[in-house]
């Protein structure tokens, strides 16, 4: 469990207000070692510089989002007239979204991300349970195979993948134009299997043995004993899986039969090139596509940071 929870802050070495032995710098001593640059929370030129730089960073990374949200609520949105505050606030752009089919694309996106995430997490939990809690011949090879899936993103295998989606080998069914054309290819993802099995390895054997003595079967063992202990890891694979599937662009494009099958993110460029659709609607569509990401991000921020940093602190 140590790997996944090691991201929490390390405040060691903080001595508020100095410790008397080093009086040279008075009360500032304690803060000088909190950060690599030795930022001080006391008013002074250092703090002023930091506030200025933070303001610039906030503007560079957040202002574009404010600008498009404001554009989506602006009556006379024009690509040339984005500003931080809407000039004349209105909901017209969102009302126009219905006739343009934006909600249909959005529904496609939600179906795909819901089904894909459910499949991906189920596959990861099952595979991780076998890899982490059992010993069997060929275990290392299976792990390597799953890791290899991370080296084969949709882009690199796009062309043969589109052939496979159009005509599944052996069974000969075409998934083109169905949500399964996107859901099934994202099902096996090495990252979530790896995170899950690393986490399951840390669960003490005694818990499992005790349950086994009570005659608990294999499936109940996984669902009622192991899985409830894995909630932090489920958060990590959930948030990463969501971002990974929501980010899919090429895959929904090659799995579609006609533009009606597109996800919202793919359909945005379609809306943009449609002369009958105003730029206000494109901006509104972008904002709609942004909302699920924001919700997931704000709810599972801790899991996201844990997953990103799990490898950064070990040697």
């Amino acid at each position: 469990m140590s790997i996944l929870t090691s991201a929490s802050g390390n405040v060691g070495g903080t001595v508020p207000g100095g410790n008397g032995r080093r009086r040279r710098n008075g009360a500032r001593t304690g803060h000088r070692f909190d950060s690599a640059l030795g930022w001080s929370p006391r008013p002074g030129p250092g703090l002023a510089l930091r506030i200025l730089l933070c303001a610039i960073a906030l503007f560079v990374f957040a202002a574009p989002f404010v600008a498009i949200v404001s554009g989506a609520f602006d009556a006379r949105t024009d690509s040339t007239q984005l500003s931080l505050i809407p000039n004349s606030p209105t909901l017209d752009n969102f009302e126009a979204a219905g006739p343009a089919g934006v909600w249909g694309y959005f529904a496609n996106s939600l179906f795909i991300v819901g089904g894909g995430l459910l499949l991906q997490m189920t596959v990861a939990v099952l595979a991780a349970y076998a890899l982490a809690r059992r010993k069997f011949r060929g275990q290392a090879l299976v792990m390597v195979l799953f890791l290899l899936t991370m080296m084969l993103p949709e882009e690199i295998i796009a062309i043969p993948l589109s052939i496979v989606i159009g005509d599944l080998p052996l069974v000969g069914i075409s998934l083109k134009g169905t949500v399964f054309g996107v859901i099934l290819p994202v099902g096996a993802w090495g990252f979530s299997i790896l995170v899950m099995s690393e986490f399951m390895k840390e669960i003490p054997k005694e818990i499992e043995e005790a349950a086994r003595l009570d005659g608990v079967g294999e499936l109940r063992m996984l669902l009622q004993i192991v899985l409830p202990l894995c909630r932090p890891a489920l958060g990590v694979i959930g948030v990463f899986g969501f971002i990974m599937i929501w980010d899919q662009y090429l895959l929904p494009m090659i799995a579609a039969n006609d533009p009606g099958d597109y996800t919202l993110t793919v359909a945005l460029s379609l809306l943009r090139s449609d002369p009958e659709v105003g730029p206000g609607l494109v901006v509104a569509g972008a904002v709609i596509a942004l909302v699920p990401s924001l919700i997931v991000y704000l709810c599972l921020q801790g899991s996201l940071v844990r997953g990103l940093t799990s490898g950064a602190t070990k040697g």
Binding site: G9, N10, G12, R32, D34, A36, L37, W39, P41, L53, C54, L58, F61, F65, S79, L82, A124, L126, A127, A130, L131, R133, R134, K135, F136, L145, T149, I156, I157, A158, I159, P160, L161, S162, I163, V164, L168, P169, G187, A188, I193, E209, R212, L213, E218, Y249, L250, T265, L268, R272, P279, V283, L290, V296, Y297, Q301, V305, G311, A312, T313
Partner: protein
């Protein structure tokens, strides 16, 4: 079922059996596990099946197709390595490879610098810093296609465009950004850095929390400046974090597609065409499956070599 297999399975259930398990263990455990060596495979089956059908089979199929001239309905013709020769000698592919390398190197370096600067700036426990980090990280969780649409609008090439009106306020004339072959590639690169910077920031921040604060204190006692402290204490401690950042961004850079496709579609006049947009237009628009497959195989090989190379380089540095 063979004897060694059974003993291995018993070991899997916990060879160092604790005291409570010992009395009943003799009968209960083997009875439960006997004949169950197929059980792990049952749990692995969904993952292996999906990976085989949608990852490994397409990979092998891609290798195979790259050796043929693919003609739907007429039958494929074996051409050996001709497709690879076509890719490597095609001037459009050569310039696409050039653009990809420029983007990959520029985004990796820019993302590293921006990420490092952001991490140093936003390191700390204060609530306000947590809020700033949350806001700055937004580009990473946003779908790339949405990022592309946002930046198309921000880059609007007239005086009223968002970025141009900001530039106008400081007296810089309207810039064409994505509309001119001279600036399009750099504009795409800036968007990539905008996404990569905050991503790297989080990984580097985690590395920074692992730096021993006593070392900073010891350096201060020795009279080291902030710059020396950064160079000799912080940077060496960040090596694992930086290795991850470098590997991830270099791989991402090589297979860059969505941003370029949304922002410019490879234009204007091919100035932002990258490896994957070229593969896309060959494979899906011109139906030249064989050549496009060969290009994909080359990209896969390049990605793998890069990953192994970075791994090897960082291992060696860590050892020395």
């Amino acid at each position: 079922m063979t004897v060694p297999a059974r003993s291995r399975a018993a070991e899997g259930a916990g060879a160092p059996a604790g005291p409570p398990a010992a009395p009943a263990g003799g009968r209960a455990r083997p009875a439960f596990l006997r004949g169950r060596s197929w059980l792990p495979w049952l749990f692995l089956a969904p993952g292996l099946l999906l990976a085989t059908v949608f990852k490994f089979y397409p990979m092998v199929e891609g290798f195979r197709l790259s050796l043929f001239e693919v003609q739907p309905f007429l039958g494929n013709i074996w051409v050996g390595l001709d497709n690879y020769a076509t890719v490597l000698t095609d001037p459009r592919f050569q310039s696409a490879i050039g653009h990809t390398v420029i983007l990959a190197v520029g985004q990796t370096a820019g993302g590293l610098i921006v990420g490092f600067a952001l991490a140093l700036l936003l390191e700390g426990q204060a609530r306000s810093l947590w809020f700033l980090r949350t806001a700055v990280f937004l580009p990473v969780v946003t779908a790339l296609a949405v990022v592309g649409e946002i930046w198309r609008l921000l880059y609007f090439p007239t005086e009223g465009g968002f970025l141009n009106s900001l530039l106008g306020a400081v007296g810089v004339g309207p810039m064409p950004f994505l509309d001119s072959p001279d600036s399009a590639l750099w504009s795409v690169m800036a968007v990539g850095i905008w996404v990569l910077g905050p991503y790297n920031m989080v990984i580097i921040l985690a590395g920074l929390t692992g730096v021993d604060r006593n070392l900073y204190e010891a350096a201060a006692v020795d009279g080291a400046s902030i710059g020396q402290r950064l160079l000799h204490i912080t940077l060496p401690a960040l090596r694992p974090a930086l290795a991850i950042v470098l590997t991830l961004s270099a791989i991402r850079g090589l297979r860059i597609f969505t941003e370029v496709y949304v922002l410019t579609g490879g234009g204007p006049s091919g100035s932002t065409e990258v490896w994957m947009t070229r593969v896309f237009s060959l494979g899906f628009e011109r139906n030249d499956i064989g050549v496009a497959s060969a290009a994909s195989v080359l990209l896969l090989i390049a990605t793998m070599l890069l990953t192994l190379g970075v791994q090897y380089a960082t291992r060696r540095k860590a050892a020395s």
